[in-house]
C-alpha cells in the first residue's frame, strides 16, 4: 500500500511537470523580484529585477525584457521544450537572455516562487549564480525601450534622401546614466529610422536648428547593434542594416519639446 502511495506520488510529480507553465507566466504574475548573486570574484550582490515588456504573442518568436538594478536590460526568450526535430520553441520554464550593453549571457529557470540561474559576463570574464524571490516592492529605475513602437512612426530611409518627422521629445526617464547623455526622454523612441542596405556607408541623424533651439535638446540614438550615442544635435554613424531608434531628450523631467528629427544615409 505504501509502495502504491510512492508510485502515485511520483506519477503526480510527473503530471505536474507536464502541466507546468512556460518561463514567462511567473514573471507576468510577479513583475518585481528580489535577487541575490554570488560572483566568481567572491563578492555577493543584492539587487532587484523587473519584467518590463513582452514583445509578440507567438512563443516561437516572442521575447521579453528583464531590467535589473543598475539599470541593466536583457533581452530574453523562454527556451525550447523537447528534442529536435519538433522542439516547442519558447515553451519551457528555462530561459536564455543577453545583455548587449555588457555582453552578458544569462541562463535560468523561473517557477512561481523562485528564479535561479547563472550569468557569464564575457568582457569582464565574470560569472555569477543567482536566486530571486517575488517582491512587489523591489523596484528598478525606468529605462528607454528601443523595441516599443515609435511615437512618431517608423521611417524607411532611402539612399541620399533626407527624410524628417516632427516629434515631441522629453519625458520622465533620466538618461544621465548613458555615457555622454543628459536630460529626460520618453520610454518609447520618438522615431525609428530603418535602413535596408548594410555597410559600407554612413548614416546621419540630426535635429535641424537643434543648435539654436531655446530648450537645449539632446539627440539619443540606439543603433541596430545596441550601441547608444548622445549628441547635441547632429550624429554621424557607420551604416548598419536595421533599425535606429531615436529620442529627443529635454533638460527637465516631464517637459514636452517639439522639434524635427531627420535621417539620411549614403553608400560608399
Amino acid at each position: 500500500m505504501r509502495a502504491l502511495g510512492v508510485v502515485i506520488g511520483v506519477a503526480l510529480i510527473a503530471a505536474g511537470a507536464h502541466a507546468a507553465s512556460d518561463c514567462l507566466e511567473p514573471l507576468r504574475a510577479n513583475a518585481g523580484w528580489r535577487c541575490h548573486a554570488e560572483l566568481s570574484n567572491g563578492q555577493g550582490v543584492d539587487y532587484c529585477l523587473e519584467h518590463t515588456h513582452t514583445f509578440g504573442a507567438d512563443p516561437v518568436s516572442r521575447f521579453f525584457k528583464l531590467v535589473g538594478t543598475g539599470p541593466h536590460t536583457a533581452s530574453c526568450s523562454c527556451r525550447a521544450k523537447g528534442n529536435l526535430p519538433g522542439a516547442a520553441f519558447g515553451e519551457d520554464q528555462t530561459y536564455l537572455c543577453l545583455d548587449r550593453a555588457t555582453d552578458t549571457v544569462i541562463s535560468g529557470k523561473t517557477t512561481k516562487r523562485r528564479m535561479a540561474g547563472q550569468t557569464f559576463n564575457v568582457g569582464a570574464n565574470l560569472r555569477t549564480t543567482f536566486s530571486c524571490e517575488p517582491d512587489p516592492a523591489c523596484d528598478v529605475q525606468s529605462v528607454l525601450e528601443p523595441d516599443l513602437p515609435a511615437q512618431s512612426g517608423f521611417v524607411d530611409l532611402l539612399p541620399y534622401a533626407v527624410v524628417g518627422v516632427r516629434v515631441t521629445g522629453g519625458g520622465d526617464i533620466d538618461i544621465g546614466g548613458i555615457a555622454g547623455c543628459g536630460g529626460y526622454a520618453s520610454e518609447a523612441p520618438n522615431v525609428v529610422f530603418n535602413v535596408e542596405p548594410g555597410p559600407p556607408g554612413q548614416l546621419e541623424i540630426f535635429m535641424p536648428g537643434g543648435d539654436v533651439h531655446p530648450d537645449d535638446p539632446v539627440l539619443l540614438v540606439v543603433t541596430p547593434s545596441g550601441a547608444a550615442h548622445c549628441v547635441p544635435y547632429n550624429l554621424y554613424l557607420p551604416l548598419e542594416r536595421g533599425s535606429y531608434s531615436a529620442w529627443v531628450a529635454a533638460p527637465t523631467a516631464g517637459f514636452a519639446l517639439g522639434i524635427g528629427v531627420q535621417g539620411a544615409y549614403r553608400l560608399e
Binding site: 509502495a3 510512492v6 554570488e38 518568436s61 543577453l98 549564480t129 547593434s225
Partner: protein
C-alpha cells in the same frame, strides 16, 4: 501478507539504490571541458525556430586562464566564433564556478547567447540570436572529420 511485505521491501530497496546512484552521478561527473579536451571536433544539427534543420561542425579553438576564470573558444561553420565557460556547480557559498557540465557562450559577431550541457558522447543546447530574434536547439556528437573551414 509476507509476500506483499517482501515485495514492498524490494521496491524501497530498489528505490533507495536508484536515489543513491542519482546522487553519486553528479559528484563523479567531469566539467564541461573534459569531453571537449578529448574530442575537439563535433558534428551537429540545429533546428531553428524558422523551421530549418541545419547541419554544421563545431570545433574547439582555444582555452585561456585557469580554475574559475578559465574560458574556452569554440567556432561553428560560418565561421561563427564564441567565448565560453563551464557553468557553476553547487549553490550559495559552496558554489564552484567553471566546474559543471553545463556551459554558457557568447558569440559577439551575431549577438547570440548559447547554453547547453556537454557529456563524453553528446553536446546539446540552445541558442538565442537577439539581433535577428531567432532561436535554435541543437545536438552534437564527436566527429574528428568535422572541420570548420577558416576564411
Amino acid at each position: 501478507m509476507n509476500e506483499r511485505h517482501g515485495a514492498g521491501r524490494a521496491f524501497f530497496h530498489a528505490l533507495a539504490l536508484a536515489f543513491a546512484a542519482l546522487a553519486a552521478a553528479p559528484a563523479s561527473a567531469a566539467d564541461c571541458f573534459a569531453p571537449l579536451a578529448a574530442n575537439d571536433k563535433w558534428a551537429c544539427t540545429v533546428e531553428l525556430s524558422t523551421g530549418a534543420l541545419v547541419p554544421y561542425c563545431l570545433n574547439v579553438t582555444s582555452t585561456s586562464g585557469e580554475g574559475a576564470e578559465r574560458t574556452f573558444g569554440m567556432v561553428t561553420s560560418g565561421p561563427y566564433p564564441r567565448t565560453c565557460t563551464c557553468g557553476a556547480k553547487g549553490r550559495g557559498k559552496s558554489v564552484r564556478y567553471n566546474a559543471g557540465n553545463s556551459y554558457l557562450c557568447f558569440d559577439e559577431s551575431t549577438d547570440t547567447a548559447e547554453s547547453g550541457t556537454i557529456t563524453k558522447k553528446k553536446l546539446v543546447g540552445q541558442v538565442y540570436n537577439v539581433s535577428v530574434n531567432v532561436r535554435g536547439t541543437f545536438t552534437c556528437e564527436p566527429d574528428p572529420a568535422c572541420v570548420v573551414p577558416q576564411p
